[in-house]
Symmetry: D2
Subunit: 309 residues, 4 copies
């Protein structure tokens, strides 16, 4: 159960089977940092010209294909005082005929700077708009993180899939455990693309993009296969589907939840289906990236009363 302090010096623009930067054991904790989505570090200096540059990969001893890698996000916190965001809703999030009215197509300024007060835990909009000095509460999260995909694929940090990647789901914040299917020996865990906060859907194509200090703790759940990323928060278990259209992302997430309830909780098909029907919740992750993200959630209070395998 070691704790590693790891200062990243190389970064990746795809999640693939690259040489690990560090080998860690089941139960270990890592304290590291991530660049912002544009490749800038804690001092605002450009480190790389990669979108959503990833720190890692971390090789987790004992993780084998067919296992689940659990990554508890112990801490995610901005390590500088300035974040940036887009200011135009993306063309694909509005009616096609409305696109020409969006700021990005009207030559308005499309980048905003936000002042981050790490003591107070707030972000304040610096761009002059009718919103004044809009101040929002920080809700840090990782936009893009995950494991190496199967069979030699190397997948761009612009998109997501069964391996995780650029899901841009605000629910992946501190104290949440992310669960990834393991496709290659050691899992090869990557992380990056921190957002100081983000609305549902990442509809402007960014959250408040910022470099982060991140601490995480890994564990391997042997033989617990899954098809899609999952997660556990204090109050919920959830599953993540990444695809277009949203309908398909929702189908992936719902199917994954039905399977989970039947595999790990003592529910049969009828019970799982009846329960979800009246108690399921959905969150929209992103509707901006090449693959959209839909999250299927079930409050833990509905399943903790059940026996678990």
């Amino acid at each position: 159960m070691a704790t590693h302090d790891f200062e990243p010096t190389t970064f990746h623009g795809t999640l693939g089977s690259y040489d690990p930067v560090l080998q860690i054991a089941d139960g270990d904790t890592v304290r590291t940092s991530t660049l912002d989505a544009g490749g800038r570090d804690a001092r605002g200096e450009q480190q790389v010209e990669l979108a959503n540059a990833q720190t890692g990969p971390f090789f987790v001893t004992g993780a084998e294909p067919g296992d689940i890698l659990a990554v508890h996000l112990d801490r995610i916190w901005p390590n500088r005082d300035s974040a940036g965001s887009s200011t135009s809703v993306a063309a694909n999030a509005v009616d096609p005929a409305y696109v020409p009215e969006l700021p990005a197509f009207r030559a308005d300024r499309v980048v905003a700077e936000w002042a981050i007060d790490r003591e107070a835990g707030t972000a304040t909009l610096l761009l002059p708009t009718r919103l004044g000095r809009l101040t929002l509460e920080l809700a840090p999260m990782l936009g893009c993180f995950g494991v190496a995909p199967a069979q030699g694929e190397a997948i761009s940090t612009a998109t997501s899939g069964p391996h995780g990647g650029n899901m841009d789901y605000p629910g992946f914040g501190p104290q949440v455990t992310a669960l990834f299917p393991v496709f290659v020996p050691g899992a090869l865990f990557f992380l990056g693309d921190g957002h100081a906060l983000q609305g549902d859907g990442e509809i402007v194509g960014t959250g408040l993009e910022i470099s982060m200090d991140v601490q995480f703790t890994v564990s391997v759940r042997k033989g617990k296969g899954s098809s899609w990323p999952r997660g556990e928060s204090e109050d919920y278990i959830f599953t993540v589907g990444n695809a277009r259209p949203l309908d398909q992302a929702l189908q992936h997430a719902t199917t994954e939840m039905l399977r989970w309830l039947q595999e790990d909780y003592e529910l049969d098909a009828l019970s799982a289906s009846t329960l979800l029907g009246q108690c399921v919740e959905y969150d929209v992750g992103n509707v901006f990236d090449p693959a959209y993200t839909m999250v299927c959630k079930l409050a833990k209070r509905f399943v903790t009363q059940l026996g678990t395998k």
Copy 2:
């Protein structure tokens, strides 16, 4: 500001320009009831063989095309002690290859009865499953309600559109104000399809289907056109898009919210877009009906600080 007690005796299976059952004035309140989705009343007796049979239409004096009809849902409460639900997640909510594993395709029993305790405000599953006597808190809502569509259309209560209809959104509950575009003189308001509670997405194709006592109060917002239904709750304003795929429903809802912020709040395109980007929330209404429903929400605290027109 009269209060009308109206006992329905005729019902409709489409929302269209039918003869009104009652003429009411701007500001009036109506106390009435709705059949359950299968056409049964408070005593469980079959009144009609129509799906989502509608009470109404109510003609609202002064409502003209181009206005908005605001319907405040004062009260929605079950008027009997038994509700029914499906127990199989619908084929279109899971991965296509998973369909044969759903209860509905495995000849399992697909209807469940629930005991409704109106005093305690709970629903208890009576079907024997591994869930035991699962007891859930009531969260009453209207699944299908709205106004007559434009140009002589008569639209099935199975589906939804700009006129409202079968949106199956749990957010349309007590103390919420639903806002509909007015397409015909008098608006012609219909209501039905109460659910004692429902999960997001109505993924089993039903909530807890039950007959309801409903009280609502109408008001006309003159010249406040909209393209899609909207709503106001204690903490949120929201817009509703009805279409397939979910992506398109989300586009409608997002566009409607951008328009609303620019028309009724003192925001320009840049401000509205910047605000939504970091503060928007989405709810999934239904992913079962012919048109899916996506809801775009903004917490009122972000806009009440702004001036409004």
Copy 3:
């Protein structure tokens, strides 16, 4: 087997259960005319302010719910010398970010007139563009036609469904037999929205819109239920799915073809599936209207060798 000459004087903007304009028998032929999509007749005079105004409905004696109404399109030919079209690809047919570059959003002229030479069978573009006097061969078709939908619905001529409607499929031309499910007694057949020619997808939102002389012959196929429109041409049988996204339209059309092959040709599931896998063809009807249209085709040479029921 009478032949009726019918001069329309009333028109409909929805397909619904309206009073029939003429009662005809199984086997009868009707010679009539249709307005153009904008409501103008053979002299270019505005008859009605309805989009895709429909001639009809025609009540076909003996057609009952559960039957198929076969409408052989004997003849469709323009009855005037001028047609109109849009000139801008629609916003929903291009990448969202490309929308602002479309002519409709750049204030270019968006309506073109075409000279129709009915002797030569050609249409010539009169709008000055870099295409010069582009001359195309006429390929007349009906954009919007079908039967009254079920259960009192009245569906706008802007869209389509199981009842037909605004499918905008170029394959519905002369010598083709269109097959519609019958939902109401007499079927109630409507027709309109002739195009002198049209590209796949109707991506500018119009074909060459023109009034038409139409002759058609009806027959009733008793007890031959179907879920979606079908058709027969000299070389193909085909099925039509109307929905969004195109994926769903394709699912409807493919399922309908699989059913047809098993019901009316002596194929079991394995044979039908194996055959379609290597021999199916798809046509895109429209990708402009609220419901898109996908057509699943099978060359008759593959099935005429088989026994038929």
Copy 4:
């Protein structure tokens, strides 16, 4: 203008920036072979355990990012006498509720063998079905081929994108020129997954899968950037969009065609749009793979009369 005979011994399961197997010059011709989709060669022997194993990559001297690589498919012909196909329409190509009726879910046999008569140019179904000894004409094509994607990505041969890949479009047959955007120096061209013939949409998930002898000739079009694959046949120019849903694939293909007409033919936006509106055709490539493929076609006769740049 050399001609190379290349016998492949290594194969790839992803398209990525791998070491080239051969360096060829602009104008060169290559005669080589491809394994079938299951990794078997001309003798039916298993060479690799990869799906759609690719021959290559070929490094084309002078090809740089921003160019187009033109690959003329001189010849594609089966090099053995037996092909295989699936026999069940895929779950995602039918209505969700119809899935349980598909052969694959009813435990019917799902693989068929076909006898290939290379002299006669025919394929004959050997599986006993009600189709008898169904005999179809060969129409050879490459299902999966393309170039290395940008920025270090390595993309599975199961799917497709701007780089080509598993498009499964029957139009990529002999005498057609495929045009790919170049993302990396040398383009790195891959090919594989030959089908002796295939229906539109590849709805059973396979064509007639077989190993092939292939001859192709490359040329580099300097500075002719494109965003998506394009093609030229004797009678058509065409563009290819790869995405889900089909709507988005169609948007990509249509946008690419509008750009091509404006960049390489002397058309402005209005002319290109007006022409496509009435003359465009669409082909469905595949609706089985993770990304679907839609092809936008324009008959050359409409553009050869125009001046070209």
